[in-house]
């Protein structure tokens, strides 16, 4: 017993020494950015996008801005676990002494971290989290992704432009699905269209035969879908195609069939459309440079996606914030204030931070899966310019 205690005491003393040593903080010449990422678990695809987007940005623009070196520190949340996200954010701020937070694949993570961001006045940039309530969590939140209704409503506008009259909505049965469903329905109806059916399917559904049968027996010319990419999206699109609905309807979703997931589909996906704030095929200088560097760093088969594009544009926003504080003592709130109203050309085209709402004003692209030279790829067939996020009141009523 005594032996054990003595050993434990010695062990504790040694660990204390080892842990206590590296307390040398480079206070002013370095800005640390903590990225809440997903390196493991179901959202690892997004986490990989975060890493790549940021690394490509650093490869192109160097590792310092405004006279300060910028260092990124990553933490893996590893699944849907906002409590862990909050703890990791606390550790990033307390232990790593980060000046800015970034990442946030899920809205629940941003909502959980909100109070700390507010309390410590740490600017935080959400790359993907697109729930309408995210920015309300703290005045120091900014976005490099989207408001979910921007893409959803744009999908409805595109459908009406193509003359769609009767639309059926299929969404996954969870909060983002409800938000997407509501935004689509409101926009479609206010533009004079009619919603002929709506169905919410459990999150992990892969067999959509019964649901598609229900749609087929309804008179429709448009189908709006919102399901997670992967097995559910593949299952739904295949079922729709088998019933001949992809040809006879304007089928519009969001990120279900990005270029990098197209190899998982067969030809039945041809004709599927997605309304999103980023498109791989965008023909602008930033996007071309981005994709070239991405392929150089990670191999010629690497495809960009909305996660890496958001991380890239988010990294730009971070660099701009650091630049704004050049020659001054670092102040998070001042940095946020400085980039409100900022507009720039991202890989997604022109984008602007609305100084009032802090939401992004950006283009939404209508992409269509086409088969070119025996290969599936998304082409841009239409776009809406400078789309603003709807107000809170619009979303609630």
């Amino acid at each position: 017993m005594f032996e054990l205690k003595r050993k434990l005491a010695a062990f504790a003393a040694v660990t204390a020494l080892v842990v206590g040593l590296p307390v040398t903080a480079g206070a002013q010449d370095q800005i640390k950015v903590g990225i809440l990422s997903h390196d493991t678990g179901p959202f690892a695809q997004n986490g990989r996008g975060f890493h790549r987007g940021i690394e490509v940005y650093q490869a192109l623009h160097g590792k310092s801005a405004g006279g300060r070196e910028i260092e990124f520190v990553y933490r893996d949340i590893g699944g849907p676990n906002p409590a862990v996200g909050k703890r990791l954010a606390e550790e990033l701020i307390v232990r790593e002494k980060v000046h800015i937070l970034g990442g946030f694949a899920l809205s629940s993570e941003a909502l959980a971290v909100g109070p700390i961001v507010e309390q410590t006045k740490t600017p935080a940039i959400t790359f993907i989290a697109s729930s309408p309530s995210v920015l309300a969590g703290s005045q120091y939140f900014l976005k490099s992704g989207q408001h979910i209704a921007q893409s959803s409503s744009a999908g409805a506008t595109f459908a009406r432009k193509q003359g769609a009259e009767k639309c059926y909505i299929v969404v996954s049965d969870y909060q983002p699905g409800y938000d997407a469903q509501k935004a689509f329905r409101k926009t479609f109806e206010s533009a004079g269209g009619q919603i002929v059916g709506e169905v919410r399917v459990p999150l992990n559904t892969v067999d959509f035969a019964a649901i598609v049968e229900g749609i087929a027996s309804t008179e429709t010319d448009c189908i709006n879908v919102f399901v997670p990419p992967g097995a559910p999206a593949i299952g739904l699109l295949r079922a729709l195609a088998e019933r001949g609905l992809v040809e006879s309807n304007f089928v519009v979703g969001m990120g279900e069939a990005e270029d990098h997931i197209l190899p998982q589909y067969d030809d039945s996906v041809v004709g599927f459309k997605g309304a999103l704030y980023y498109a791989e095929a965008l023909d602008n200088e930033e996007n071309k440079t981005f994709i070239a560097k991405l392929k150089e760093l990670y191999g010629p088969d690497t495809q960009p996606d909305f996660a890496s594009a958001s991380a890239y544009d988010g990294a730009h926003l971070i660099y701009e914030m650091v630049k704004s504080q050049e020659g001054k003592d670092w102040s998070g709130p001042d940095a946020v204030e400085a980039v409100k109203g900022l507009s720039w050309n991202g890989v997604r085209g022109p984008m602007k931070i609305d100084p009032e709402t802090r939401e992004l004003v950006q283009n939404i692209y209508l992409r269509e899966v086409q088969k070119v030279d025996g290969k599936l790829q998304n082409a841009i067939v239409d776009q809406l310019e400078a789309v603003e996020a709807p107000s809170k009141e619009w979303m609630e009523n």
């Binding site: 017993m1 032996e3 054990l4 205690k5 434990l8 504790a12 660990t15 204390a16 842990v19 390196d39 493991t40 933490r75 893996d76 590893g78 699944g79 849907p80 676990n81 906002p82 409590a83 862990v84 909050k86 703890r87 606390e90 550790e91 701020i93 307390v94 232990r95 809205s107 629940s108 909502l111 959980a112 909100g114 109070p115 700390i116 309390q119 410590t120 729930s131 309530s133 969590g137 049965d173 969870y174 909060q175 983002p176 409800y178 459990p202 999150l203």
Partner: protein, 334 residues
């Protein structure tokens, strides 16, 4: 047939006072407060899971209730604490007690029905209850916030003195106090007549009922007590993170806590205290080093525990200590 009450540390029966080792463990936990002042949020998180594992140990280790749905009570506790705070009841300690009582009430209502089952059917039904609650919480977004979670809650300082902060000082001591209290309670329970009766039920249900023991009532009471502690752990998670995410009700949580308990040692109160730090520290350290490694490490540890060290970490430590004292372990299960 000779009844041998095994693996629960019968020696504790002879000594109803808290054994020395408990004091050492809690002294070490308190030392963490001074040695790692910048890691207290992780420490508090570990404490919460130790508490959750302790509650499972009460059900599984003591009473032999094999369950894969214990997160149901953890989640009910967490949501109750969240709802109370959002409704204006921000006093944390009473909040925890009320949350624990709600979880216990649910267990008390379910117990008489599901505890008639044993073995695989019991596992399936507890799993089903867990999945049902998870889906219900996902659907009832007006109540739970669904996938976005429940947010915007604040809690008043503990005892009106200790403010919450991002350094986790209050969080950790607060969690540790609850853990110590629950551990003491469980210790008293296992050394009581009731605890002995539970062990009897675990070893041979039929014989206990033939002895005139009201098996179902005892199991239900144990289940409710276990749920109370799980609810307390859930409420503590809600209070320390000021947020309740849907994942508190997930099947993964139920499995996580089972793995923690198996690693630490089922049926020993210390199993929960040892398993939680080992599991969560490996998970956390591997995240900074190589995030993909931790599943492999945990996998190997589980295989090791299953093959050669059935008593988990506690079992191994116990043997080592007994050996060093020159005593051979007696009555240890193989």
């Amino acid at each position: 047939m000779k009844i041998t009450v095994s693996s629960t540390g019968l020696s504790a029966l002879d000594r109803p006072r808290m054994p020395m080792i408990a004091l050492v463990v809690f002294a070490l936990a308190l030392a963490v407060f001074f040695v790692f002042p910048d890691r207290l949020s992780l420490a508090a998180y570990i404490g919460i899971f130790a508490l959750f594992a302790l509650s499972l140990d009460l059900a599984l280790g003591m009473a032999g209730i094999v369950t894969l749905g214990h997160a149901a009570f953890f989640g009910v506790g967490a949501y109750t604490a969240g709802w109370l705070a959002l409704a204006g009841w921000q006093e944390p300690i009473t909040g925890v007690v009320i949350s624990g009582l709600c979880a216990a009430a649910l267990a008390g209502a379910l117990g008489p029905f599901i505890l008639r089952l044993t073995g695989l059917p019991l596992v399936m039904v507890t799993l089903a209850v867990g999945v049902f609650l998870f889906e219900a919480a996902n659907k009832l977004t007006w109540l739970t916030g669904g996938d976005d979670g429940l947010y915007g809650m604040t809690f008043s300082p503990v005892l009106g003195i200790f403010e919450w902060s991002i350094y986790g000082t209050t969080d950790y001591l607060y969690v540790l106090a609850w853990l110590a209290l629950a551990f003491y309670g469980c210790h008293r329970l296992t050394t009581s007549n009731f605890g002995l009766a539970l062990r009897g039920v675990r070893e041979n249900r039929l014989r206990m009922s033939l002895l005139g023991s009201s098996v179902l009532a005892q199991l239900t009471l144990a289940y409710a007590l276990s749920a109370f502690i799980a609810g307390v752990a859930g409420a503590l998670l809600a209070q320390t993170s000021e947020f309740v995410g849907l994942e508190v009700l997930s099947v993964e949580k139920s499995i996580d806590v089972l793995v923690i308990l198996v690693l630490g040692g089922v049926g020993h109160l210390y199993g929960a205290l040892l398993g939680a730090p080992v599991y969560l520290l490996i998970k956390d350290m591997s995240k900074e080093w190589n995030p993909h490694a931790w599943m492999i490490i945990i996998g190997f540890m589980l295989v090791f525990v299953m093959l050669v060290a059935r008593g988990g970490i506690h079992g191994v430590l116990h043997k080592v200590i007994e050996r060093s004292r020159g005593k051979l372990p007696n009555g240890e299960p193989r």
